[in-house]
């Protein structure tokens, strides 16, 4: 194989049709605004931490819990006491904790309404610590910051509880590969002063119907649409798409509804378990989603079974989704 072939392959891949995004500049400006807010928030939080540590300097204290205290202005700005989500659902903050060490806990009242946690996004990843509810670890989806918003993550609370203790633990870090081809060693811990808000939301009295999703594009990333299906969560939880083409296929997803980022999609290719993807692009943006590439036998008919599900509570907040199978 020659370098010319390598150049050709790179060029062919890169210069195929790419998803158009006429809103890119606006989206970048929105990121810039959020970065500014985060920087102000960090500055505010550091000030609070310095003052608080000076006041509460206790040897061996793992984390500084500040429930009930007046949060800094920046935290109020990013983790407000109340807000309304785009679909009209009312959120109310029931707890706010500032994490300075590896762990912090907070007791919150439980009214039976769904609980969610949020922390401002900083850098390129949402670094929500591991969440425990009454000492039981809660698995929450980990999102990249994506468009930089501090996503709300659902947490389950045992039924019938009137209070719950939420513990946020960031001692368990990821790993990095500092030496090429070397082992993955523990990542430098997240030592930033971090505000975490606990929210409850009130299920809307009536179902909020998500917007209808337009047709998926006939061509995407050099592939053609072979089959597609649509559904609504809760509702249809499994569909099958079929097509045939050369080599790997891709599945493109589009969703509408505020909870679209909590959808997960698991794929089986010709009956064999394949990849799982978390989250679903919001259909309002005109940029179509990039396809999730799935290996498939070349030239043979491919059957892709898609199973859907969602994290957390969704009462009266359904999500519409569309999935398209693209083949070469």
């Amino acid at each position: 194989m020659s370098v010319r072939e390598l150049r050709d392959v790179l060029r062919e891949r890169a210069e195929g049709p790419s998803p158009a995004n006429p809103h890119r500049h606006d989206q970048v400006r929105a990121r810039i605004r959020r970065t500014r807010l985060r920087r102000r928030a960090s500055a505010g939080a550091v000030t609070l931490a310095v003052v608080a540590v000076a006041a509460y300097l206790v040897p061996g204290q793992a984390g500084l819990v500040v429930p009930g205290e007046t949060p800094p202005a920046a935290a109020r700005q990013e983790l407000p006491e109340r807000f309304t989500s785009p679909d009209g659902t009312e959120y109310r903050r029931v707890g706010l904790v500032t994490l300075t060490g590896t762990e912090a806990s907070i007791d919150v009242p439980v009214s039976g309404k769904p609980l969610e946690v949020a922390t401002p996004c900083d850098g390129d990843r949402n670094r929500m610590p591991v969440v425990h509810v009454n000492s039981r670890r809660v698995h929450v989806p980990r999102y990249g910051c994506g468009d930089g918003l501090p996503y709300l993550l659902p947490v389950d609370v045992p039924q019938g509880s009137t209070r719950a203790t939420l513990t946020f633990d960031r001692s368990e870090e990821g790993c990095v590969i500092p030496v090429e081809d070397g082992p993955c060693v523990p990542e430098q811990p997240d030592t930033a002063v971090r505000d975490i808000g606990v929210y409850e939301w009130t299920p809307p009295a009536m179902t909020i119907e998500p917007a209808r999703i337009g047709a998926l594009p006939g061509q995407l990333d050099g592939r053609r649409l072979a089959d597609s299906a649509s559904g609504r969560w809760p509702g249809v939880s499994s569909v099958t798409l079929t097509g045939s083409g050369a080599g790997p296929v891709s599945v493109s997803l589009l969703c509408s509804g505020d909870l679209a980022q909590r959808m997960w999609f698991k794929f089986w290719i010709n009956g064999k378990e394949g990849r799982t993807t978390v989250g679903c692009p919001w259909a309002e943006g005109s940029s179509p989603s990039a396809g999730l590439e799935l290996e498939a036998p070349e030239g043979e008919r491919v059957t892709v079974t898609v199973q859907t599900g969602m994290w957390g509570e969704y009462t009266n907040r359904p999500v519409r989704w569309s999935a398209g199978l693209y083949v070469r």
Partner: protein, 159 residues
């Protein structure tokens, strides 16, 4: 020095090209868009002090990509398990095999390959972008080409 007044024009005029570089690094158009927007947003804050906006954004793009790649394993899936490995199969053509092999390269080597053989940048420029010595770029190129089983003897080093 770049004027912030031209930032929008720069995004409109140059971001499609940068998106393609991002795609070669991330291998997913959605991630590539995310990577590009993150890099443009970072560049905006440094904009008044930048002499060559495109080179600067490209540098941010590559370094941001490498930092994302290092943290990629942290993602969780519903079952709590890591994403399964893709199944290999034998029917793919040489181009497809080569593309997959590029995808298996470590982040830094993939970046070197993209910058040298897609962007056609000389060794010195790649070293500047990655913040390393020219010798490192050459050794990374050699390692990457060996993994791709590309004949290194016909690579002409541009300085």
């Amino acid at each position: 020095m770049a004027d912030r007044a031209i930032f929008q024009d720069f995004v409109v005029a140059r971001s499609d090209r940068l998106l393609r570089t991002a795609y070669l690094l991330a291998r997913d158009w959605g991630l590539a868009e995310d990577l590009l927007q993150e890099s443009l947003a970072k560049a905006w804050f440094a904009w008044p002090g930048i002499d060559e906006p495109e080179a600067y954004v490209r540098k941010v793009l590559v370094t941001t990509y490498i930092s994302w790649w290092r943290r990629r394993w942290r993602g969780e899936v519903p079952s709590g398990d890591a994403l399964p490995e893709r199944a290999a199969h034998d029917a793919a053509g040489d181009d497809e095999e080569l593309w997959r092999a590029v995808g298996r390269l470590p982040a830094r080597q993939r970046a070197v390959i993209v910058l040298r053989f897609y962007e056609d940048l000389p060794v010195g420029e790649v070293a500047r972008l990655l913040g390393c010595q020219e010798g490192t770029v050459k050794s990374q190129t050699a390692k990457a080409l060996a993994k791709l089983r590309v004949d290194e003897s016909i690579v002409k080093e541009r300085r």
